[in-house]
C-alpha cells in the first residue's frame, strides 16, 4: 500500500546500487564481516545509503545481506544486533520518501539433498532474521542472490508465516538461463508467484544486456511486477573490473520497463552515479504495454510441465494392489520406491503421482521422505496424492516447485480443507467429479460438480489454469454407458470452464480380456475429447506410443521428431525375437567364470550379467528355497568375485558389476516373498553411516550394496550423521555391527568421538571403520574393532560378527 502511494501503478521505482564494493572503497578489508560495520562504522554505512538516496533511490537495501546465524556465529556480534543496527543506518539516510528493505542473502550452506542443511533449519534461520528485521522497523524484505529455489521457498514461507513484511524475491542466473543449482526461470516464476511474493526478478551475476532475454522469459510466466538489479556488465577475468559506465548501464536498462520491470537498480560494480543516470533516463518512460501471452504449468526446480500440451502423469508410485511396493513402504526401503520414479521419468512421464498411503505406515513422514528422494533422483514435477489434508500439507511444504494436489472433490468438507492449502503453497489442484451423493451418472451431473469446484477455486484465488478436473473413469464391463458420459463431461469441462483435464485410464478395462486394447482405445478417444493429463503407466510401450502418436496428429510434435526417436529407441518386438536369449552385458571374465566351475547362475553373477541373473534366479526357485538360492548360489558367487578382487585378477569395476547383478537376483527373491506375504529374509542387521562433518559417501554406498548382496539388512543413516543419532539407532535396532566411514583427515576426530560415545552408551555392537585416510593401526587407536580396507573385507567382517553371534545362540533376525 505504501509502495502504491509512492509509485502509482505505472511508475518505475528506483532501488539502490552495489553495497559491498562501496564498503571496500570505504576501507572494509575483504574477509571481514561487512555487517559488522553497521556497529563499528555506522557513519560509513549511513553515508553510502545517503548517497544512494540523493541519487534517486526510493527503496534502499539495508546492509544486512550476510546477517544470518551461520555467517555471524563467532563474529563477536549478535545477529539481532547486527540487523537492527543495519536497519538503523539505512533509516537514518532514508528520510520520508525512501523505504528501507531488510536485505537477506543466501545462508551460505547448501541445502539437502546435495548439502546437509534441512528445510526446517533454513526456515528457522530465516525466521530469526526476519523477526529481527521487522522489529527494527524494516518496510519490507528482499531475498536476493539466491540460487537454490528451495532455500528461497524456506525464506518466503518464514516471512509469510512470521511477519507482515511485504516480500520481494530475486535470484541470480547465469547466461545459460539457470542458477548455479540448475533452477530455471519458469520454475522460479511459477513457484514464487504461487507463494504470494509481491514482486520478483533478477539480481547480480550478469549485466543488463545479458539479463534482457531472461527478463522476456520471466514475463511470460508471471503477472507480478518485476525487479531488475544487474551488475555493471561482466567483470574482466583478470582485473575483476566491471566494464559498464553509468550512462551505458542506464541506456541498456531503458527497455526494462516495457518488459514489466517496476523496480530497478544495480548490483556489483554499480554506485550512486549509476542510479543518478537511471533517474535521468527514467523520466518519461511508459512502462509495459507489450504483454506477452501468459504461460502456465506446474514445475520442479528444474523442469516445467506446461499446459497446452499432453502431459503423462506416471501412476506407479502407489501401493494399491502392489505387494512389493507395500513391503518397501513398511521397510522404509526408499531406494525401491524411488526406482519407480526414475523408471517412469526414463519412460517419458512428465509428472509423477506420489501415493504412499498404507495402513500401519506413517504416511506423513513417508510422503516427506519420498518427495525429498524423488526431487533428488529426478527432475519431474510431482502430484501429491493423499486423502489426508495433513499429509497433503506436509508434502506441499517440503516439495520444491509448484505441485499438483490429488485431490479435492465436490464435497464441502473437501473443498474447505484442501483448497486453502493449495492457495497457500501455490499448488494446482485435481478436482474429482463426485460429491456427497457419489458419482453422477450423467455428464451434466459431473459438469455441475466440476463447475462447483472451479468456482470454489475462483473464490480462494486459484486460477482456472491451475484447476485440473477429473471426470472419473468407471469400469466399462460394469457400467457400459459411462465411458461416453465421462468423455462428454471431459470435453465440456475443458471448453466451458477453461480448466485442465486429468483422467486415470486403466480402470476402464477391469474384467475384460486383452485389457490393453480397451485402454488404448479409451486413451485415444479421451485425448481427442480434450484430455490434457492421462494418469497411466508410461512403462507400457503401447500406451506411451499412443500418446506420442497423438502428439504427432495434434501438431505438437513438430516434424514427428520425437515420435520417430521413440520408435527407433523402442521398436515393436516380433515374437520370434523376443524368445531369443538375453544378450550378454559384459565381455569380461568369461573364461574365468568357466574356470570357477560354479552353476550358470553363479557364472552370471561373476560376469555381471544382470538380466541373465534375473532369469536364472527365477529358474532356480523351482528347485530351491529363497534362502537356498542366497546361500548356495549368490553368496558363493560373490565370494568368488571377492577372492578374485583380493588376488587382483579383477578390480573395483568388475566387483561392482557383479554386485549389481547379484542385487538384481535379490530383487527377484524379495518380490517373490512379498507377493506371497512371507517375511523378508535377513542374515542380520548392520548400521552404516558417514560420520559427522563428512559428506563423501560413495565408499559407504558401495559397502552398503555389497553387504545387502550378502543378505544383510543395512540401515544406512546417510552422510554427515551426528554421533547421537548413530548411538540411538544402534541401541534401538539392536544391531550387532556398526560401520563408520570417513574420507577426510579432518573428520577422523568425529569418527573417534562416535566410537567413544557408542562405548560410553554401552552399545553392544562391534564397530568397523573404513575410508581413504584410515589405517589398521589408526583404526585400533580410535577404538574400532575392525578395519575394513574395502567392501570385500567389510563383508568378511560382517560374516565373522554374525556367525559369532549365531555361535553364542543369539537369535538371528
Amino acid at each position: 500500500m505504501e509502495m502504491n502511494r509512492i509509485n502509482g501503478q505505472n511508475h518505475v521505482t528506483l532501488l539502490d546500487g552495489g553495497m559491498g564494493t562501496m564498503l571496500q572503497q570505504a576501507g572494509l578489508p575483504l574477509g571481514v564481516l561487512p555487517e559488522s560495520w553497521n556497529i563499528t562504522h555506522p557513519e560509513a554505512v549511513t553515508g553510502i545509503h545517503r548517497r544512494y538516496v540523493e541519487a534517486g533511490s526510493r527503496v534502499i537495501y539495508a546492509n544486512t545481506f550476510g546477517a544470518n546465524p551461520f555467517k555471524t556465529a563467532g563474529s563477536g556480534f549478535e545477529l539481532e544486533e547486527l540487523i537492527s543496527a543495519g536497519i538503523r543506518c539505512a533509516k537514518e539516510a532514508a528520510g520520508s520518501k525512501t523505504q528501507v528493505a531488510l536485505d537477506v542473502g543466501p545462508l551460505g550452506r547448501l541445502m539437502e539433498p546435495l548439502g546437509s542443511l534441512s528445510f526446517e533449519e533454513a526456515y528457522d534461520a530465516f525466521r530469526r532474521i526476519l523477526t529481527a528485521g521487522e522489529a527494527a522497523g524494516a518496510d519490507r524484505v528482499i531475498f536476493e542472490t539466491m540460487s537454490d529455489l528451495q532455500e528461497m521457498r524456506a525464506a518466503v514461507l518464514a516471512a509469510k508465516e512470521n511477519t507482515a513484511l511485504p516480500v520481494w524475491a530475486t535470484m541470480t542466473f547465469e547466461a545459460s538461463g539457470r542458477t548455479f543449482l540448475g533452477v530455471t526461470v519458469p520454475a522460479m516464476a511459477l513457484t514464487l508467484s504461487g507463494l504470494g511474493v509481491e514482486a520478483l526478478g533478477f539480481n547480480c551475476s550478469l549485466g543488463p544486456a545479458e539479463l534482457m532475454p531472461l527478463l522476456r522469459e520471466l514475463r511470460e510466466w508471471t503477472d507480478l511486477p518485476l525487479i531488475l538489479k544487474p551488475n555493471a556488465g561482466l567483470p574482466d577475468p583478470v582485473t575483476g573490473a566491471y566494464p559498464l559506465m553509468p550512462g551505458d548501464f542506464a541506456a541498456l536498462m531503458e527497455n526494462a520497463p516495457s518488459l514489466g520491470v517496476r523496480y530497478m537498480g544495480g548490483c556489483c560494480g554499480t554506485d550512486p552515479a549509476f542510479i543518478r543516470e537511471l533517474a535521468k533516463k527514467r523520466a518519461g518512460v511508459e512502462p509495459g504495454a507489450d504483454r506477452p501471452s501468459r504461460r502456465y504449468g506446474i514445475c520442479s526446480a528444474r523442469a516445467v510441465a506446461e499446459t497446452g500440451r499432453v502431459r503423462i502423469i506416471g501412476e506407479r508410485i502407489n501401493p494399491t494392489g502392489k505387494k512389493r511396493m507395500q513391503q518397501a513402504l513398511r521397510d522404509n526401503d526408499l531406494d525401491y520406491i524411488l526406482s519407480f520414479g526414475i523408471q517412469q521419468q526414463d519412460a517419458g512421464a512428465d509428472i509423477l503421482d506420489v501415493n504412499v498411503g498404507l495402513p500401519g505406515v506413517d504416511e506423513r513422514g513417508m510422503m516427506i521422505r519420498v518427495i525429498q528422494g524423488l526431487q533428488a533422483a529426478t527432475d519431474l514435477p510431482l502430484q501429491i496424492d493423499s486423502s489426508d489434508p495433513a499429509v497433503v500439507e506436509a508434502g506441499l511444504r517440503i516439495a520444491c516447485g509448484k505441485c499438483l494436489v490429488n485431490s479435492v472433490n465436490g464435497k464441502k468438507e473437501s473443498l474447505e480443507a484442501i483448497l486453502p492449502l493449495c492457495k497457500k503453497y501455490g499448488a494446482a489442484v485435481v478436482g474429482l467429479c463426485l460429491d456427497e451423493q457419489g458419482i453422477p451418472e450423467t455428464w451434466e451431473g459431473r459438469m455441475a460438480i466440476a463447475r462447483r469446484i472451479a468456482e470454489a477455486a475462483d473464490r480462494v484465488g486459484i486460477p482456472r489454469q491451475d484447476v485440473y478436473i477429473d471426470c472419473l473413469t468407471l469400469t466399462v464391463s460394469a457400467q457400459q454407458s459411462q465411458a461416453a458420459e465421462t468423455l462428454k463431461a471431459l470435453s465440456c469441462a475443458k471448453k466451458e470452464l477453461g480448466v485442465q483435464t486429468v483422467l486415470g485410464v486403466s480402470n476402464i478395462s477391469f474384467g475384460l480380456p486383452e485389457r490393453q486394447q480397451i485402454n488404448l482405445s479409451f486413451l485415444t478417444q479421451a485425448l481427442y475429447a480434450g484430455l490434457d493429463c492421462p494418469i497411466m503407466n508410461p512403462n507400457q510401450n503401447a500406451m506411451r506410443k499412443a500418446v506420442a502418436a497423438f502428439r504427432v496428429l495434434s501438431g505438437e510434435d513438430a516434424g514427428a521428431d520425437r515420435y520417430i526417436q521413440l520408435c527407433a529407441a523402442m521398436p515393436d518386438v516380433p515374437p520370434a525375437a523376443a524368445a531369443a536369449p538375453v544378450p550378454a552385458e559384459s565381455k569380461t571374465g568369461e573364461n574365468a567364470a568357466q574356470a570357477a566351475g560354479g552353476s550358470s547362475l553363479q557364472e552370471a553373477v561373476i560376469r555381471g550379467q544382470g538380466s541373465e541373473v534375473v532369469r536364472l534366479t527365477e529358474a532356480a526357485l523351482s528347485q530351491k528355497t529363497e534362502m537356498e538360492v542366497i546361500e548356495q548360489e549368490l553368496i558363493p558367487a560373490l565370494n568368488e568375485v571377492g577372492d578374485r578382487y583380493e588376488r587382483q585378477t579383477i578390480f573395483l569395476p568388475q566387483l561392482l558389476r557383479a554386485a549389481q547383478a547379484a542385487s538384481a537376483g535379490f530383487e527377484v527373491l524379495k518380490a517373490r516373498l512379498a507377493a506371497q506375504d512371507r517375511p523378508a529374509l535377513s542374515r542380520g542387521k548392520i548400521l552404516i553411516a558417514t560420520v559427522q562433518g563428512d559428506i563423501h559417501d560413495i565408499g559407504k554406498n558401495i559397502v552398503r550394496v555389497v553387504l545387502e548382496n550378502y543378505g544383510y539388512t543395512v540401515l544406512d543413516l546417510g552422510k554427515d550423521v551426528p554421533p547421537e543419532e548413530i548411538v540411538e539407532t544402534a541401541l534401538r535396532e539392536k544391531v550387532p555391527l556398526v560401520g563408520l566411514s570417513a574420507l577426510m583427515t579432518t573428520t577422523l576426530p568425529a569418527m573417534e568421538k562416535t566410537i567413544r560415545m557408542l562405548r560410553e552408551a554401552q552399545v553392544p555392537s562391534k564397530v568397523m571403520v573404513g575410508g581413504a585416510v584410515l589405517t589398521e593401526e589408526y583404526a585400533r587407536e580410535i577404538g574400532a574393532d575392525y578395519y575394513a580396507r574395502d567392501a570385500k573385507r567389510g563383508a568378511d567382517i560382517a560374516r565373522e560378527v554374525m556367525s559369532s553371534l549365531a555361535g553364542n545362540g543369539e537369535p538371528k533376525e
Binding site: 578489508p29 575483504l30 574477509g31 571481514v32 543466501p106 551460505g108 550452506r109 547448501l110 539433498p113 546435495l114 548439502g115 546437509s116 542472490t145 541470480t172 545459460s176 542458477t179 548455479f180 540448475g182 547480480c204 551475476s205 577475468p237 583478470v238 575483476g240 531406494d335 526406482s339 526414475i342 533428488a376 533422483a377 565381455k587 569380461t588 587382483q648 579383477i650 578390480f651 573395483l652 569395476p653 568388475q654 561392482l656 554386485a659 549389481q660 559427522q692 562433518g693 563428512d694 559428506i695 563423501h696 560413495i698 554406498n701 558401495i702 550394496v705 554427515d720 583427515t745 579432518t746 573428520t747 577422523l748 568425529a750 581413504a772 585416510v773 584410515l774 589405517t775 593401526e777 589408526y778
Partner: protein, 223 residues
C-alpha cells in the same frame, strides 16, 4: 568464469579407481561412455585474484593471513600470492547422486573421473596463470587441509574470492566445500626462480610425520 574441458586425464582416473596395469576392455569402454556423459554435464568454473604479500604475511586489502609452516615455506621469497578456486559445479554432484541410485559402477567411474577432471581444470588454470604472470614465477598450488594449512581458513578463501557468488561454492560446518568437486588453493608469486620445489613432495611438507596418506604409502594429491 566458465572454462572448457575437452578430455579428462585417464591415468589419473584409473589411479583413483585403484586400477593398475592392463585395463579390461569393457572397463575402458565404460570409462569412455562416462567421460563423455560427464563432459556433457559439467560446467567447470574458475576464479582467482592476485594480492601483494604484506610484511606480516597478510594478503593486501584483506583480513586473510594464511597460517602454518607449510605456507611459510611455500611463500619464502615471494612478493605476492594468488588465491584460486575451481569447481565442476553442482551439476557434477547431482550427476553423482543420481547415478548412485541407478548404477553404482557408473557412479564409481564418474567419481574417479570427477576427481581427475577437477585436477585437470586446476592444472590448466595454473598453466594459464604461469603464462599470465611471466616473467615472474609461481610456486606450486597448495590447498587448505594439506600439510598444516588449516581447513579452518576456508571461510576466508570463500569471503575473499566471493565464492558463493562467483562459483556457487558454499562451505559445510566442517569447512568442506559444496559442490564436492571443488578446489581452493594458494600460490606464491616471486620474481626469482624458487630455490627448491616448494610445496611439492612429502619432504617439503611439514605434516609428513603425521600424514596418514604417507603412512599408507598412497600419497596425497600433492605428492
Amino acid at each position: 568464469m566458465e572454462v572448457r574441458l575437452d578430455r579428462i586425464s585417464r591415468p589419473e582416473a584409473l589411479r583413483y579407481l585403484g586400477l593398475r596395469g592392463a585395463v579390461p576392455g569393457d572397463v575402458d569402454e565404460d570409462l569412455d561412455r562416462c567421460e563423455a556423459l560427464l563432459l556433457r554435464t559439467i560446467r567447470p568454473r574458475v576464479t582467482w585474484r592476485r594480492f601483494d604479500l604484506l610484511p606480516d604475511g597478510t594478503l593486501s586489502g584483506t583480513a586473510f593471513r594464511p597460517e602454518g609452516e607449510s605456507i611459510r615455506v611455500l611463500l619464502r621469497g615471494c612478493t605476492g600470492a594468488i588465491l584460486m578456486a575451481a569447481t565442476l559445479g553442482a551439476e557434477a554432484d547431482l550427476l553423482l547422486h543420481r547415478t548412485q541410485g541407478k548404477n553404482l559402477l557408473d557412479a564409481a567411474l564418474l567419481d574417479a573421473l570427477c576427481n581427475a577432471a577437477i585436477e585437470d581444470v586446476c592444472d590448466a588454470l595454473c598453466a594459464d596463470l604461469a603464462r599470465e604472470f611471466a616473467p615472474a614465477f609461481l610456486t606450486p598450488r597448495f590447498s587448505p587441509g594439506y600439510g598444516d594449512f588449516p581447513l579452518s581458513q576456508q571461510p576466508l578463501f570463500a569471503a575473499v574470492l566471493d565464492l558463493p557468488r562467483q562459483l556457487g561454492i558454499t562451505l559445510t560446518e566442517s569447512w568442506l566445500m559444496t559442490p564436492q568437486k571443488s578446489v581452493t588453493a594458494l600460490m606464491g608469486v616471486s620474481d626469482t626462480a624458487p630455490a627448491s620445489q616448494q610445496g611439492g613432495g612429502c619432504t617439503a611438507c611439514s605434516f609428513s610425520d603425521r600424514c596418514l596418506y604417507r603412512k599408507k604409502g598412497t600419497g596425497c594429491a600433492r605428492s
